[in-house]
Symmetry: D2
Amino acid sequence: MLIVMKSDATPAQVDEVCRQIELLGLRPVPIPGGGRTAIGITGNDRAVDPGPFVGLEGVRDAIPVSAPYKLVSREWRPNDTVVTLPNGTRIGGGAVCVMGGPCSIESDAQIHAAAAFVAEAGATVLRGGAFKPRTSPYAFQGLGEEGLRMLREAGRAHDLATVSEAMDIAGAELVAEYVDIVQVGARNMHSFGLLRALGSIGKPILLKRGPASTIEEWLLAAEYILDAGNSEVILCERGIRGFDPATRNVLDLAAIPVAKSLTHLPVIADPSHGTGRRDAILPMSRAAVAAGADGLIIEAHPHPDQARSDGKQSLYPAQFHQAVLEVRQVARALGRDLAGEAVNAG
Amino acid sequence: MLIVMKSDATPAQVDEVCRQIELLGLRPVPIPGGGRTAIGITGNDRAVDPGPFVGLEGVRDAIPVSAPYKLVSREWRPNDTVVTLPNGTRIGGGAVCVMGGPCSIESDAQIHAAAAFVAEAGATVLRGGAFKPRTSPYAFQGLGEEGLRMLREAGRAHDLATVSEAMDIAGAELVAEYVDIVQVGARNMHSFGLLRALGSIGKPILLKRGPASTIEEWLLAAEYILDAGNSEVILCERGIRGFDPATRNVLDLAAIPVAKSLTHLPVIADPSHGTGRRDAILPMSRAAVAAGADGLIIEAHPHPDQARSDGKQSLYPAQFHQAVLEVRQVARALGRDLAGEAVNAG
Amino acid sequence: MLIVMKSDATPAQVDEVCRQIELLGLRPVPIPGGGRTAIGITGNDRAVDPGPFVGLEGVRDAIPVSAPYKLVSREWRPNDTVVTLPNGTRIGGGAVCVMGGPCSIESDAQIHAAAAFVAEAGATVLRGGAFKPRTSPYAFQGLGEEGLRMLREAGRAHDLATVSEAMDIAGAELVAEYVDIVQVGARNMHSFGLLRALGSIGKPILLKRGPASTIEEWLLAAEYILDAGNSEVILCERGIRGFDPATRNVLDLAAIPVAKSLTHLPVIADPSHGTGRRDAILPMSRAAVAAGADGLIIEAHPHPDQARSDGKQSLYPAQFHQAVLEVRQVARALGRDLAGEAVNAG
Amino acid sequence: MLIVMKSDATPAQVDEVCRQIELLGLRPVPIPGGGRTAIGITGNDRAVDPGPFVGLEGVRDAIPVSAPYKLVSREWRPNDTVVTLPNGTRIGGGAVCVMGGPCSIESDAQIHAAAAFVAEAGATVLRGGAFKPRTSPYAFQGLGEEGLRMLREAGRAHDLATVSEAMDIAGAELVAEYVDIVQVGARNMHSFGLLRALGSIGKPILLKRGPASTIEEWLLAAEYILDAGNSEVILCERGIRGFDPATRNVLDLAAIPVAKSLTHLPVIADPSHGTGRRDAILPMSRAAVAAGADGLIIEAHPHPDQARSDGKQSLYPAQFHQAVLEVRQVARALGRDLAGEAVNAG
């Protein structure tokens, strides 16, 4: 922490800041400058809360120097966290995990058809929404528990692990009963009560980045879950809010290498919500893997033209197959492979 | 709804779109253009869901023409909604309601001191957080129910109505027991389960705009609450995420007249979170009222330099007093007055 | 400047940074921390360029502490700069200057009609574009020098000062021959060659903030002009790029008090481009003045429905009249007045 | 174009809009809806200017249906434009062109050293700035014509084509004398006078996307150049302004496939300015090529720790070599190759 004083701060104000630092058991190091004084803080072993300083008279700013998170950091745990799912899929540690399936679970037939083509393409995780966060109260909200049951059965029938979104604590407990990964949507990344509850949910968590969240805020949201006891968190970049209506969001692929340099947690990408355009999903799937993503979550539907939600950004089965094919090519070119496949077996 | 076909769409694809429109009981109106065909949809009396069309072959885009909300719209209810609080404060309909108080309730002494100067300045609602959504799990999280009790008593002692934030359904029920307005924070604007539950909470709701939310999405969040049975919703602009570190957020004051033209609900502003700078709160309080805001919610603390959260953006008591004074001057210049005061009594 | 080392930086790397600081004639102050070392730099009397440090081995970041500008800063010149125009209008120093007129100069009749209602409403500066920066090469590009002549005559006929935009150096010289203020548009805020040339143009400059520019970058653009010899710069907030299609831009009114705290230059607002909506211009004009703006520049047209550009955001004459009326009310409530009017004369 | 009327628009207002459409020689198609009327416009063969309609009484909005550009569109020219440089490098049409070199040309020795390692790594274009657009007037502004001379000689010595930025018309003429590609920087994307002048400059243009520009605005900027007579334009995505200080900009890779679907012009990426972080350049170089980019422009310096500008985001020679290696691997995995190399020769 560096406390920057105003250019007209008095010596008494500087002294008062130093005194406050000492009251916290830390050591102030005043640095007189040309136009103003700054005061370094030393002796801390975690980030110092700027709160008590920014309100003091004569203080212009408090600049953090240490990261505000700990358990998620690479400094705390240098090696990659690897999340292993019941069907053997490993997320993190080098391989590329592909998750696919429809936005919403609509029927037994639909989710079984989806599971069939997802598995055949070479993906190992089936996605499907049973509780849908919809901007409008008049839009389709999902099949609820009945949908979760359908998803579980379709996954089992095709040896796919499963992932589905929970929107609140009660929902998370229900989702955790049926699926292998509990997803927290972008709009709930800041639902801190939910994050804490996921600490003891007993399943890995897929944590999407909020559309207006910095990488640091995203890591702090994960820190809530780790701090509450669950260290199996998979981060998912899904696009931030942008100004160009050409795409639904701006898929911030640079966030992948940046986040991976800061944290040991796996980081995957969602090119479907990240672009909102079917024609951009293949290129961005390839790009995400080339950027170092540990996996992808892609919307695909047996009949996108009949989908009850997000049809515009859902791949047709043949397109999903092609996406997996191309992603595998990029991965292998970089010495990696799809989760569940050995390079030499290719 | 206007369906815009691709420039190379075939007549058969156009026919298929028309057929799908007719299947919904609506009437298609093809509009052949220079480079492409568009198809208008008529016969609907509410917004048509674009979902089923955007997935069809040959379709480039579906452009909504009607607003997707109904109960919150001025077309549904032309006159301003006025929310009346137990102490007689009216929000909406012309007067300017000022809410003030600390970010977090910290002690009986602190919240009583805050209530005293807030009331003396002429404000009529006391704010204070008991459940704090904090980006870091290691930051102060609030006093919980004990804080709510303190807030209620401080409010009663000074004839102030009260407002406090709820972060989830259980919390909302607790907050509603103690305070007069239940606040939904910006980071929970999209917590749809919470929004629905607020439909039957029996208290007015203060709904903050999400930092990456459009005005339309904000109105749809309010629509959830109205649709669930509670028509007393107060909208609050509190800043959207921006790129300039000079301010914490970008207070989007134009959202006030724009939202008020679309909805009958009252709209207030939060210059504290909207700027994050103590020195910008007074100017932006005046500006929000000049822009037509129905009220303000301002952070103020008996001792900002000792605040456990947000001290940097909390006013000192004398500054809060000055803010109310200047806001009253601007309001009166425009033929309005503070809630709880008659113009002629001034 | 604070140099923050990586957590695994070696003592030799710290020493090398210190040595580089000393080579610049400055003094390093190492601050050992819990997890890493930081190095303060003292002895400088202007901002240190971070360039040479960020490339060094072991350096994580270089955090500037001093502002990078000088001539525009309040620390350099504490008192407000006041720009005085030939017709006696003063911009800065307390009064509110209103500028009005059409987006484009279209004909003698149009600009004279505009000048007539602008003057009658009480404004003192006439705006009109002769060189139009248009996103599309197929849109109307302005009348050029002929337009400038029309503008000058219309201004003279109604005792109005005049302002018009220049897009390049040659254009600026031409504009400066005809009008009283040379405007630099938002899209040219970073045209550094143009900014330098304006240093010797002999007329005051209206410098619009770029749509993706921070306040600091805006002040640095002004610093170019002052550094080149022209200290009469008027800053203009005109909205930054946002994600909500409800408004053309996000008018960042908090930038007004923030900029005015950092610089002695006058700061005005452009609610027309800042919102792009006729119905938001009146409220935002009032709000800008309440936020402390030194003036307004508002698009108004004798016949907005026939305007060749920006008709959607142009006021009708009666609306412009009402805007000036309401702005005057807000200004007087805050102890200010319109430029060209004494409070007591009101 | 679709004209959407307000819900309370009168039949007379609808008639007036129809009349105006007919005056333009076009045909109105009224579409009565549930809550409001919309009016389609047909008979046009290029985008209709919304200007004259949005100002009319009763009109709520004018929604464009056709693209506003023409010469740059794939509808106008379906096949990829391929730009061929004097050293045989082809940009567009499948191969991946790598450009590398320092931010600023600093000396003969520096640029020759850069050319040597750039060529050895397998890149075919040398970049280097002689005129630097710098946010601060006190930062290093480049060596000017002397730098261009150095760049040309270094390029010739290593059989590299060259690219350098021009900031205004005079500069563009000078740059065009010395180098093979004239670059327009992001901050000048909207300098329309410069764009027009480039129509007759006789060299290919590298047009960077503005940090707050939509893809459509970027294509319109290119349209200016094509419309002025120069069809050799290379688009360059270099990041848009974002809110996360973790990266300098947000590299919007989805813009690559989206732009390439709309235009026949080649599209390359700049991962250096797009991220501002040395550690993100390799991953984002690979990602850009995987997303379909026709090339890359990467900052690299013989001694980044001594660079006079942008050292933080410049690769070391060995890193540049590694980047080209990995980019080649990704390209070949997708059936492409580096410009100047045949796949089979690899």
